[in-house]
Amino acid sequence: MIRLATLSGTRSSRWVVAALMALAVANLRRSSMGRRLLAIRANPQAASSLGISPVMAKAYAFAIAAAMAAVCGSLLEAQLSYADFGLFGSQASIQTVLSTTVGGIGFVPGAITGAAGGARRDHVERAFPGGFSFELGHHCRGRPDPAGCCSSHLTASFRSRSVSSACSGPC
């Protein structure tokens, strides 16, 4: 069992990281490296005749992309309290390519809209156990309950069929 006790990071920090990544990708597009990548894509032979090394350009693109993927995985994992790698399956990986295509594969906003459409319910449920699926828990009996501990009472009480004990104490 891997307990991820030391990981945290606020939600807004995740938004900031994602925004920085989006800006970086937009900047990459306008940089000379971005133009080189586009040249490789359009015609490798012509690009190498202009002195652009396809190997270097491809290696650069793969390295940048791997680093970004690592950041994404790291942040997704840090939302959990216990290690879980089930959400990074082969199907999900193909799905991300499809989502990006639907959003627009050459566009920075495309990635964001693609993610909004492509994030599956089980990602959220796995990342925030008791967060999305136990919608009840957050507003337990009219009181906001962001920690979701009321939902645990609810789950427990459904099991023991004694609703009276739920949410009585300060949780």
Partner: protein
């Protein structure tokens, strides 16, 4: 899909199995024709990357429809075998069932038939012509669309037959059938998508390899991973494929300008307003989407800008997640430090994914990255060893949830 039809008709509705087989293969062939006419025909001038993505989308669509049709309630259907039972014993340890021998015999027969079609008939000649140069083939009076549709029908019908034969072994779920694509494509890759004989040989080697790895190591995951590693090795040492001359003619996906306009500012303001306003559960959902968008951005760089199709990006994210979990749990690193380590570990793995890209492109690259993805998945992320850790962790999490603090 054909397999679903078959196993619905034959045990489900009591149709005799030869009739059900013909109907199933026919339906599957019709789906292939529809795919060519409705989707692939329109993409004739698109780049190879676009075509591969389109076929992946078709796979997801048909798989999803099949799932709805097959098990709307999440029930898995059993796939009984209609082949004769019985076992042959060779020595003490080795035994081969009659059904397996029949399947291999069918595979040999079909390969021979295809070889004859390819070498001896006008249809085979026309297919090669369309493959070499569509314009010239059309000039000779062969419609490229018609030939392509016929080949799609042939391919899909054969695929249905193959899945019907293999379903009693592999099980009839969309997940297990989707993953069959990887070794199958690997076999086709060994045959260079040209030679039936080499492909058949490759398929036998991969299949036997998967079974025999069990004799060498009992570590879970290696049985699936080892043949794929062999495929990647073959891809690396083989001479590079012919230079693709279709460059320049192909239509590439559009690419944005990358200028940061007022729209970006508006998005930024709106999103931080969302962070402040949303209820926690919605915020969790949005945050997950936003984090996920980082992987999609990496695909924009790789596939959108550089034109390199990699299907393994989210698998790489999984490696990042694994390293993060490992280092934070084992060494107590804070998130930023664990993330740094994750990046340092993942980038070399990403470069490993890149190596096939230096020598191949398009379909072969997609298969190589898909193979690597499955290797990552089998050896690390979805390995029974790791999964056991997961389940212990999850049950502990559930216990924590249930016990009020």
């Amino acid at each position: 899909m054909g397999a679903y039809v078959f196993y619905d008709l034959w045990p489900g509705h009591g149709v005799a199995w030869p009739l059900a087989l013909i109907i199933a293969v026919g339906v599957s062939g019709a789906i292939g024709v529809a795919a060519q006419l409705l989707v692939m025909g329109r993409l004739r001038r698109a780049s190879l990357t676009t075509k591969v993505i389109a076929t992946l989308a078709l796979m997801a669509l048909i798989g999803g429809l099949g799932d709805q049709y097959l098990s709307p309630n999440g029930l898995t259907r059993t796939a009984p075998s209609f082949l004769p039972g019985g076992q042959f014993h060779f020595g003490a340890k080795l035994s081969v069932s009659l059904a397996q021998i029949v399947v291999i015999g069918i595979a040999l027969a079909i390969s021979g038939l295809l070889l004859v079609i390819q070498k001896r008939t006008r249809f085979g000649l026309a297919t090669s012509a369309v493959c070499e140069n569509q314009t010239v083939a059309a000039g000779m009076g062969w419609s490229p669309d018609l030939i392509a549709a016929a080949n799609w029908a042939l391919g899909c019908g054969l695929a249905a037959l193959a899945v019907i034969l293999i379903a009693p072994v592999s099980g009839l779920t969309v997940d297990s059938l989707d993953l069959l694509v990887v070794p199958a494509l690997g076999a086709a890759l060994i045959g260079q998508f040209e030679s039936y004989t080499l492909t058949l040989l490759g398929a036998l080697v991969i299949g036997i390899g998967e079974a025999e790895v069990g004799l060498v190591t009992t570590q879970a995951g290696w049985a699936e991973a080892a043949p794929l590693l062999v495929i990647i090795g073959v891809l690396l040492i083989r001479r590079p494929a012919k230079v693709d001359r279709s460059h320049g003619a192909a239509r590439l996906p559009a690419v944005g300008s990358g200028r940061i306009g007022p729209g970006a500012l508006v998005t930024l303001v709106v999103s931080f307003a969302l962070v402040a306003v949303l209820s926690p559960s919605w915020l969790n959902a949005f945050t997950t989407s936003v984090v996920l968008s980082i992987t999609l951005l990496s695909i924009v760089v790789l596939t959108g800008y550089a034109g390199q199709l990699s299907l393994a990006q989210f698998g790489l994210a999984g490696i990042g997640a694994f390293v993060t979990a490992w280092f934070s749990a084992g060494f107590g690193l804070p998130l930023w430090a664990a993330m740094l380590v994750a990046v340092l570990v993942t980038v070399p793995v990403g470069m490993l994914v890149a190596v096939p890209a230096f020598r191949t492109q398009g379909v072969a690259l997609a298969i190589a990255t898909l193979s690597l993805l499955v290797v990552i998945d089998d050896l690390l992320l979805n390995n029974p060893g790791t999964r056991e850790l997961d389940e212990v962790g999850q049950s502990a999490a559930a216990r924590d949830l249930r016990v009020p603090p």
